[in-house]
């Protein structure tokens, strides 16, 4: 979230699209209810199903799964052509006025530079035109035909209300009603909030779904503003934290990136990470990258990381390609992997194409599962009849299952969607011999380090030199690890301008990332978390819920990254002179001498408004990007591409159907289904009563939703002779499930490009372990393809067929 949960109460319009907060985030959705009740704001829900969020809405529009960009592209066209934009904001705080290279093009569904053989673009032309001074050229009037604003206008001119209806199935008049409501928030004192989740990410163009709404929010001046923002609801309790700390193939904590093969030394690595400002007077805060990197290396290796050895540059692996989970299982499937660890993760149910996952796991030499619960992944080798029909004798994998603690049995911090780091406390001992994950990792580390010290082996240096100076090396305390993440001074740090002035004494916990150094005198595991555990103690455990300003910011409750800032980009809530656009909802402002306010200003506090620095300080431009240059693989403007399994051709450019650069592995392409065999669109989702595959182990929730079901519209049910309660089979080109049919009014048939299309709803919670009845699981159906940028699997739009199996038995 750019904003925070309680801030939703300050909005003037809520749009929930790509999520279903009322069911998946019920206690957060209460802030929508609050806004509706006290401030009479409207709620728009756009979704393939009439969800419980929709039941609370003032305006619901059903669309076909996988057509969000077509809908939102139509909104952009409406806003631009009806002049419903926040002009001061767009002209000054976005790259609308910047001039784009003359050789950038978009034709017949493809941007310039496409290489069909590689399924990739050469993105060189997707960039700004630079002047002789090295800065981007701009036309503040937004009239130059090569400026971003004009190119955007041309790009979305094709997204007429008629085209929106043809692709999405949303009636033109309903679509225009949505446009009108959204357009009202272009007023300087009106704001809309966008709430989304995996309904947008789980598509082969997931990143671009989100980008399209981000563009709308920028055109309306709704980013950085209380009650506004792009609010990713996030699926799991600490997926924000796990990502912040870089537990992904290509990351270093704090969104730094692992080096590539072609970057042989630190100097080369830093060459592309200099972040030289692209416009005069800009902050370009990533210019501090080297301070974050060096402080991280010092946290990993202490005295062993020196300037002379390039801060242990070669001790981190280099990447040739990103090894996301889909690639991992592809490699496993090819027999190229020996071992795999699953820490609190149940991939056998979580990733697409169960058959492929099962075959892949069978090729492993060893599998280690660390989990509090008996997951399906840990028992993939066990026969569970039709729900897991395997022969254990034929599966040669050695499997370990290690019991871990749950939240109630440990101290530590989780990061919620609003970027709050909240500390929690242990309230009970774990059952049996269960151990905290930290202890398991520590025991493995110590044992392996002993082996490397004794036997030697492949490149042991980074491992045997890893800093592990905890009081009990076999059981580091969460508090010790949290202090390490925050960082401290490793030597006395003096003011570079006046060496007689001591800034930090050796050993001091740092109070903010502004104190980090690139000379090895500071360390910090994750620069973004600097300030979370200072000399004043654990800031994440703070419990003062006072709310100066009344916006719900509660700045002394827990701690929020970055720098305890509650609303990101908040400088953009003020005009160019530093005065709040909406004085009734003041967040930060220029008081004549400095930036101040109820929130921590997202700006250099002494930077005078007349100096002209832009509010998006992380970008070298200082402005937000309506045109993303080459930063996304599939285009600088979002374009509607069909899902990989679609019931119709792409109405905008029939020759380019799905995302032309999304990665498809050999063998997966062959099992995409065709509409003549699988005529219905399906989408997966969660229920209010269940959380993924955990709560089927929880007695109460297992009673509330005991059995696997699918949702089918009344019209399709009638066509197939299916009544509510009948057993049905849902089949894709990869597998089939048997489930109870819920016949519903909540999913209507849509007319898409003149063709009647039904949508089938497939909730995802059942497997073969736990307290519910056994189920087959939605991922037997889903396709093995991901978003072109993040490789998030396309769970939200695929093709199936439905067949009645038998009468209701209950």
């Amino acid at each position: 979230m750019t904003n925070l949960w309680a801030d939703i109460k300050n909005t003037d319009l809520v749009i929930i699209m790509g999520g279903n907060a009322a069911e998946a985030h019920p206690c957060g959705f209460k802030w929508v209810t609050e806004a509706k009740h006290y401030r009479k704001v409207k709620l728009i829900v756009v979704d393939p199903r009439f969800t419980r969020s929709a039941a609370m809405s003032d305006l619901f529009v059903q669309i076909r799964p996988g057509t969000d960009i077509a809908f939102l592209g139509g909104v952009i066209k409406y806003l631009v052509e009806n002049d419903k934009i926040q002009k001061e904001y767009v002209a000054n705080y976005t790259n609308a006025s910047y001039i784009i290279r003359g050789d950038f093009k978009f034709e017949d569904g493809l941007f310039s530079g496409y290489d069909e053989a590689k399924r990739d673009y050469d993105r060189a032309t997707w960039d700004y035109e630079l002047g002789d001074d090295g800065f981007v050229k701009s036309d503040p009037t937004l009239q130059d035909p090569r400026c971003v604003y004009q190119l955007m206008k041309t790009h979305y001119a094709r997204y007429t209300p008629e085209m929106v209806e043809r692709i999405t199935g949303a009636p033109k008049d309903k679509f225009l009603e949505v446009c009108k409501l959204i357009a009202e928030t272009s007023a300087v004192d009106k704001v809309m909030t966008s709430m989304y989740a995996l309904g947008w990410t789980q598509h082969s163009k997931g990143s671009q779904n989100i980008r399209t709404m981000a563009m709308i929010q920028l055109l309306l001046g709704n980013i950085g503003v209380s009650g506004g923002g792009m609010n990713a609801l996030r699926g799991h309790s600490n997926i924000q934290g796990l990502t912040d700390i870089g537990l992904m193939s290509d990351l270093i904590p704090g969104y730094l990136t692992l080096a590539r093969d072609r970057e042989p030394d630190y100097a080369t690595y830093m060459k592309t990470r200099g972040f030289k400002p692209l416009r005069p007077g800009q902050t370009s805060y990533w210019q501090n990258y080297d301070k974050f990197y060096v402080s991280f290396a010092k946290a990993m290796w202490g005295d062993a990381a020196t300037k002379e050895n390039d801060w242990a540059y070669d001790w981190l692996p280099k990447l040739d390609v990103a090894y996301d989970v889909l690639r991992a299982f592809e490699l496993m499937h090819q027999g190229k992997m020996t071992g795999y660890f699953c820490q609190g993760f149940n991939p056998l149910l979580s990733f697409p194409n169960r058959r492929k996952l099962q075959t892949a796991l069978e090729k492993l030499k060893f599998l280690v599962v660390m989990d509090p619960l008996a997951t399906e992944t840990s028992e993939y080798w066990q026969n569970y009849g039709e729900h897991n029909d395997v022969d254990p004798a034929k599966i040669q994998t050695e499997v370990f299952r290690l019991p871990t603690t749950v939240f109630a049995e440990e101290n530590g911090s989780l990061v919620n969607s609003g970027r709050w780091l909240q500390w929690h406390f242990k309230g009970a001992e774990p059952p049996g011999e269960a151990l905290p994950d930290i202890d398991i990792m520590a025991r493995l580390f110590i044992r392996l380090r002993d082996l490397y010290r004794k036997e030697g082996g492949a490149f042991p240096d980074p491992f045997v030199n890893l800093t592990w100076n905890y009081e009990d090396p076999l059981s580091p305390k969460p508090e010790e690890l949290a202090r390490e993440l925050n960082g401290k001074a490793l030597a006395d740090v003096v003011d570079p301008k006046d060496p007689t002035k001591m800034i930090l004494r050796k050993g001091t916990q740092l109070s903010g990332f502004g104190e980090l150094r690139n000379d090895g005198t500071t360390m910090s595991g994750c620069w973004l978390y600097t300030g979370s555990w200072t000399e004043a103690g654990n800031q994440m455990a703070r419990r003062d819920n006072s709310d100066p300003g009344g916006l719900g910011l509660t700045p002394k409750w827990a701690w929020s990254w970055p720098a305890n800032r509650r609303i990101m980009y908040n400088r953009a809530s003020c005009d160019v002179n530093g005065k709040p656009f909406n004085p009734a909802k003041k967040q930060v402002w220029w008081d004549g001498e400095r930036w101040t306010g109820y929130d921590v200003p997202d700006f250099v506090v002494t930077s005078k408004p007349e100096a002209g620095a832009g509010p998006f300080i992380m970008n070298p431009e200082g402005s937000a990007r309506l045109f993303t240059r080459g930063l996304l693989r599939d285009g600088p403007f979002p374009e509607h591409y069909e899902p990989f399994e679609a019931p119709v051709a792409n109405a905008l450019h029939p020759k380019v159907g799905p995302n032309p650069v999304a990665r498809v592995f050999k063998g997966d392409l062959e099992v995409f289904g065709k509409p003549q065999d699988f005529p219905h669109v399906a989408t997966t989702y969660r229920l209010t009563e269940h959380f993924h595959f955990w709560t089927k182990h929880v007695q109460i929730n297992a009673v509330l939703q005991p059995q696997e079901f699918v949702e089918i519209g009344e019209e399709l049910a009638k066509e197939k002779g299916i009544s509510g309660g009948d057993m049905v089979e849902v089949r894709s080109n990869r597998g089939r499930i048997k489930a109870v049919a819920v016949v519903t009014k909540r999913i209507k048939a849509l007319t898409i490009d003149g063709k009647k299309i039904h949508t089938v709803g497939v909730p995802l919670h059942w497997g073969f372990t736990g307290a519910t009845r056994k189920g087959f699981g939605a991922n037997r159906l889903t396709p093995y393809v991901g978003d072109a940028n993040t490789d998030t699997p396309e769970f939200k739009a695929f093709l199936v067929d439905v067949k009645k199996l038998g009468q209701a038995t209950v």
């Binding site: 949960w5 206690c27 609801l233 996030r234 699926g235 799991h236 309790s237 600490n238 796990l242 700390i245 537990l247 992904m248 042989p264 990993m300 070669d314 692996p317 090894y323 992997m337 020996t338 071992g339 795999y340 660890f341 820490q343 993760f345 979580s350 990733f351 509090p372 008996a374 034929k394 599966i395 994998t397 299952r401 290690l402 749950v406 939240f407 109630a408 989780l414 919620n416 009970a428 001992e429 049996g432 011999e433 151990l435 994950d437 493995l444 580390f445 044992r447 492949a458 980074p462 890893l466 949290a482 390490e484 993440l485 209010t688 009563e689 955990w694 929880v698 109460i700 372990t769 998030t792």
Partner: protein, 198 residues
Amino acid sequence: MGAVTVSRRGLFKLTGAAVGASTLTALGFSPAAAQAAVRAFKLERTTETRNTCPYCSVGCGVIMYSMGDGAKNVKGKIIHIEGDPDHPTNRGTLCPKGAALIDFINSKTRLLYPQHRAPGAKEWTRITWDQAIDKIARLMKDDRDKNFIAKNADGQTVNRWISTGFLAASATSNETAWATYKVVRSLGMVVFDNQARV
């Protein structure tokens, strides 16, 4: 709350007694008899511990009530969990998942001991932590020593290990994440991912 300052615990005691008395009065007992008959509330003897819900990322505050005084031979047990009324996001409320957290802690399918399944076996075998860590460390080292890639085909130093992978969780703490990151990355592992996508 006006001028009177009452701690949450104190307030609970006051209202608890008042509700007990008035309910019994409504049932026809006289106040004097009622006060003699009301049992002490179970929650009064518990310890309150603050935590946050481990499911979605709204991050609702919860209060866990546990029995046991922390003495050496006493095993604390959580007997009740409810929303934290002071929490600025959920303000005391919980959803159907959060409200059932007690059953997650006490789930019948919670794992209690390290287990091992030999190749081709039909059953689990219980093993000790030491046995588990020994075997896993050996498997890891053998694979790493055999398949570690120090240089790529072009002779560039890459120092990566791709034949063993690690899937990190979505609900472990930042502190677990950091300990995990340190171990996994210093081994050169790059087949490393979390649950952000699903």
